[in-house]
């Protein structure tokens, strides 16, 4: 469905609410996806399709809400969904639910944002895409034949339109594409896997990869590293000075910090007090900054919130001090933070929650680093740079954590965990490799431990935010590497010391 059609549908559904008491938000989404996957030289799956539909969120005039949605994008259903939503809202009012009338305060906006894609969905045919992905997959297998390889390519286009009772009508298109290589390697009877990706807005990702093969080189380097990890020893568990790559730094900023400043979490956040964000709290050393906001061309780009407000770029931490949170229209004010259009939803079928877009962690104290073409060459450059700047301590392990496998945080207690692909001791000239082990601790301690950045900003670490059982595109990063001091509240798992 095109933007013009989806706007017309939302307007028509909203017209059905005229004369009804209360307030209505209509969210419609038309999503198309093409995906293909190759496994060890065979085309394993090519799939086309999408998921479209719309939802009606109704509010009684007292502010109790109800929600109804359908995966049929048909105007005839509009009246049914409106009736269902308002009936549920009234039921909700009767059980003493917490009322929320903040939506009445939202600014009226009318905007139609053009599709930012360079190659619009469908411009490159599926057969051409297949050809390109097969070619990339074959090269990778030839280059690293001892690995078992899967290559996937996904191309998505989401057309959104949000309309509200106050006349607000915004529509926008989110294009996304990602190329991924997943390898499994074995050594000495043990196996390890590695996953590496390159993302962007559209099929340009494939054209760029065909031109420079940078993902292929990374995949082969990571597979060689994974092979070395298979037979690597475990580290003794303990507290170490750490260097984390920007993928892990994105994880730290997103999981360990970003969730703790979302406005709906203030009653349970380590960064909240009596339901309000602890603005003014020093959470990191001077010079540490955390920023969240959409970047054009990025995996998590979204120009408007799912409630129809402009998505703002927010400096959350400035010079080590907590200055703002990620507030949506429903809980921002109550949480003591400005409303910044932070509401995002996986689809028309879910209630939007305050959440991040692209979050990046930057430090004023940055050591320059010239990225190398190959992984272990870059690790050597990291070691040399740190030595030249007096950052490596004699007789002490300095551990470089490579690759981000995901993480989890309890925003209430501030406990976090992250997992990496493997670990290298850059204090040792032999650069010994160790098994991955859990990187865990308290989020405020981890932030406090950040002492500097290494290299320029890299913000293309991608993922999916699983908050509230939804799956929403997220991204972010930091300097190429972040330096962290040893901290008694931040540890690496591993064998018992």
């Amino acid at each position: 469905m095109e933007q013009i059609e989806i706007r017309a549908l939302v307007q028509a559904v909203l017209a059905e609410t005229k004369g009804l008491k209360g307030y209505f938000i209509v969210r419609a989404q038309s999503r198309r996806e093409w995906s293909l996957r190759l496994s060890n030289g065979r085309l394993d799956r090519v799939s086309t399709g999408g998921d479209s539909g719309y939802g009606v969120q109704a509010f009684t005039k007292e502010g109790a809400s109800g929600f109804a949605n359908s995966d049929v994008l048909a105007l005839e259903l509009g009246r049914t969904l409106i009736d269902k939503a308002i009936r549920l809202a009234r039921r909700n009012e009767a059980i003493g639910s917490k009322r929320n009338r903040q939506i009445w305060e939202a600014p009226q906006i009318q905007e139609e944002v053009r599709n930012p894609a360079q190659k619009v969905f469908g411009e490159i045919s599926l057969s051409e895409l297949q050809e390109k992905v097969i070619s990339l997959h074959s090269r990778l297998r030839d280059g690293f034949p001892e690995g078992s390889w899967q290559t996937s390519y996904r191309q998505i286009e989401e057309v959104w339109c949000i309309g509200r009772s106050d006349g607000t009508l915004v529509s926008f298109v989110i294009p996304r594409a990602v190329l991924m290589h997943q390898g499994t390697v074995r050594d000495q009877g043990k196996a390890q896997s590695t996953l590496i990706y390159r993302s962007g807005m559209d099929a340009t990702v494939l054209f760029e990869e065909l031109a420079d093969h940078s993902l292929e080189k990374k995949a082969m380097d990571r597979a060689a590293f994974a092979k070395a990890v298979c037979s690597a020893p475990h580290l003794p568990s303990g507290h170490y000075p750490l260097i984390i790559d920007y993928g892990l730094a994105k994880g730290l900023a997103h999981e360990a910090f970003g969730h703790a400043v979302e406005s709906d979490h203030m009653n349970e956040s380590v960064l909240g007090e009596a339901g309000k964000l602890r603005i003014g709290l020093r959470v990191a050393r001077p010079g540490v900054n955390i920023i969240d906001g959409p970047l054009l061309g990025d995996w998590a780009y979204q120009p408007f919130s799912a409630n129809g407000l402009i998505r703002q770029t927010v400096t959350i931490v400035k010079d080590g001090v907590l200055v703002a949170g990620l507030g949506d229209i429903f809980s921002g004010e109550e949480a003591g933070m400005p409303v910044t259009g932070a509401g995002r939803a996986e689809s028309y079928g879910q209630i939007p929650l305050p959440r991040m877009s692209n979050i990046r962690l930057l430090v004023d104290r940055m050591l320059p680093l010239t990225p190398a073409e190959h992984l272990m060459d870059e690790v050597k450059v990291v070691r040399e740079t740190l030595m030249q700047n007096g950052e490596l301590r004699e007789g002490e392990k300095n551990l470089l954590l490579l690759g981000y496998r995901g993480g989890q945080v309890n925003p209430k207690t501030g406990d976090f965990v992250f997992q990496c692909d493997g670990i290298i001791d850059v204090a040792d000239p032999n650069l010994p490799i160790y098994q991955p082990s859990i990187f865990s601790g308290k989020i405020l301690s981890a932030l406090e431990a950040i002492r500097g950045g290494l290299g320029e900003g890299c913000f293309d670490a991608i993922g999916a935010c699983g908050k509230g059982g939804q799956s929403v595109a997220s991204s972010g990063g930091s300097h190429r590497y972040l330096l962290m001091d040893v901290d008694q509240q931040v540890s690496l798992g591993g064998e018992q010391a």
Binding site: V46, G66, A74, K84, I95, S331, G407, Q408, V417
Partner: protein, 439 residues
């Protein structure tokens, strides 16, 4: 006209009398779900907050798998068209043809076989969907009334009901009703529990679950002595499920085994290699009445039947979809629905109450952080588990925080590993000796 009927018409015509010869189908398969669901949540002790309002959802969508006359195949996700356009499906068909690819192993569409009947639908849930939804609102009110006064409660309750349609060009035409009921709650986001089946929770189950979680919450209030290297680690049933889902299930996936991306090789299965302790068996059983992992027929049209993945510790078969089965040279097996339908059996299982009495020095792990980040192929884990319950001399004595280090595949092979039966779960408590230290 229903989606399944539109698709049947389209595909039948494309097989028998296509408008263009290049669009002729030789075989096809359709899966369509029609469903309706209602839900209600609690956030921070508030029922039906703006983030968890009472909600209604209806859906009608599915997928098609097509084999073209030239031997190529296509698959696509399908929904009802948004406007009444007679050219919609013919255009879709052309689009699907453009997306066709060669995968000879995938082109086999099984012939219909007799189906075993299994109960998948609770009529009481259909009534909820039809509007008699007081049970959801009453349950939420009851939870909030009974909750520990100091606890910040989160929760959700959802009922779903609908039809599942499977059609194939080989003559299978199955439509059946199925239902689903999910409820969960937590206190302070630290302790929680849930119920997931194809039927409503019974009053006694609701009471048992509530008492169990409240007791765990109360147990968390007191600091307990730290663990030592000899402390026995006990995984709660939900943790057992999570660990099986992370480390075991992926390694029994047929396509991963065939592609050499699992912990076990095809030869390991053919040789029936001993990988777990002989007391353990692992199976998929989709025929248990009203379980979430139960079904009548797979999306590919294969009738439900029990499949033993490992018997007495010996590998038997990975789970095989039709394509994997063709490549493996065997019949398709039962399929898990997530971890639903997966059962772990131990020959010496005892009830949990009895097992607890025998624990001198233990720690009960209710949840861990970061499990999904662990390496499935190796089975190794390094996990942080804040908020565990310490057990001393057969009694829960308070809260402790631990770190776990080990290998789950090795845990299942160890003679020291035992299980204890859980009354509210299909999976057991798992009692293991593994690396444990204070967090």
């Amino acid at each position: 006209m229903k989606l399944v009927a539109q698709l049947e018409d389209l595909l039948y015509q494309s097989q028998q009398a296509p408008k263009k010869e290049e669009l002729r189908l030789s075989a096809w398969r359709i899966l369509v779900h029609e469903s309706e669901a209602v839900s209600l949540g609690i956030k921070d002790n508030s029922p039906g907050s703006v983030y968890t309002p009472p909600s209604y959802r209806q859906g009608e969508s599915g997928e098609v798998f097509l084999v073209w006359a030239d031997g190529t195949c296509s698959q696509a996700i399908v929904q009802l068209p948004f406007k009444n356009d007679p050219d919609y499906w013919p255009k879709e068909l052309e689009q699907w043809k453009l997306a066709s690819y060669e995968d000879p192993d995938a082109t086999h569409i099984p012939s219909p076989e007799p189906l075993e009947l299994v109960a998948l639908e609770d009529r009481a849930i259909e009534q909820i969907i039809a509007g008699k939804d007081e049970v959801l609102f009453d349950q939420v009110k009851q939870w909030l009334k009974d909750r520990p006064s100091e606890a910040k409660m989160q929760g959700s309750i959802q009922a779903a009901w609908g039809y599942r349609h499977v059609r194939t060009s080989t003559g299978l035409a199955v439509t059946y009703q199925q239902s689903q009921f999910i409820s969960w709650f937590s206190f302070d986001s630290l302790v929680g529990g849930g119920f997931v089946k194809r039927r409503l929770i019974r009053p006694e189950e609701r009471e048992d679950l509530w008492v169990q979680i409240v007791n765990q919450y109360e147990g968390m209030k007191k600091e307990a002595p730290p663990v030592g290297p000899q402390t026995q680690v006990i995984l709660s049933p939900s943790m057992t499920e999570d660990m099986l889902g992370q480390f075991v299930l992926p390694n029994f996936s047929g396509d991963r085994v065939i592609e050499g991306q699992g912990a076990f090789s095809k030869e390991n299965f053919l040789d029936q290699k001993l990988v777990f302790h002989p007391h353990f068996s692992l199976l998929i059983d989709p025929l248990r009445p009203l379980e979430l992992g139960s079904y009548m027929v797979t999306p590919e049209g294969v009738p439900a039947h029990r499949t033993v993945l490992a018997r007495d510790g010996l590998l038997q078969t990975p789970y095989l979809r039709v394509k994997d089965a063709v490549r493996w040279g065997a019949k398709p097996t039962a399929l898990p629905q997530g971890t639903g339908g997966l059962y772990l059996k131990h020959q010496a299982e005892v009830p949990w109450e009895e097992a607890l009495q025998g624990v001198e020095d233990g720690v009960l792990v209710l949840s861990v952080l970061g499990l999904h980040t662990q390496e499935a192929v190796s089975g190794s884990y390094s996990l942080s588990a804040p908020h565990c319950l310490r057990i001393l001399k057969g009694k829960i004595v308070g809260r402790t925080d631990v770190k776990l280090t080990g290998n789950f595949l090795a845990d299942l092979a160890a003679p020291t590993t035992k299980t204890a039966q859980a009354s509210l779960s299909n999976l057991p408590y798992l009692m293991i000796k593994t690396g444990v230290q204070t967090l």
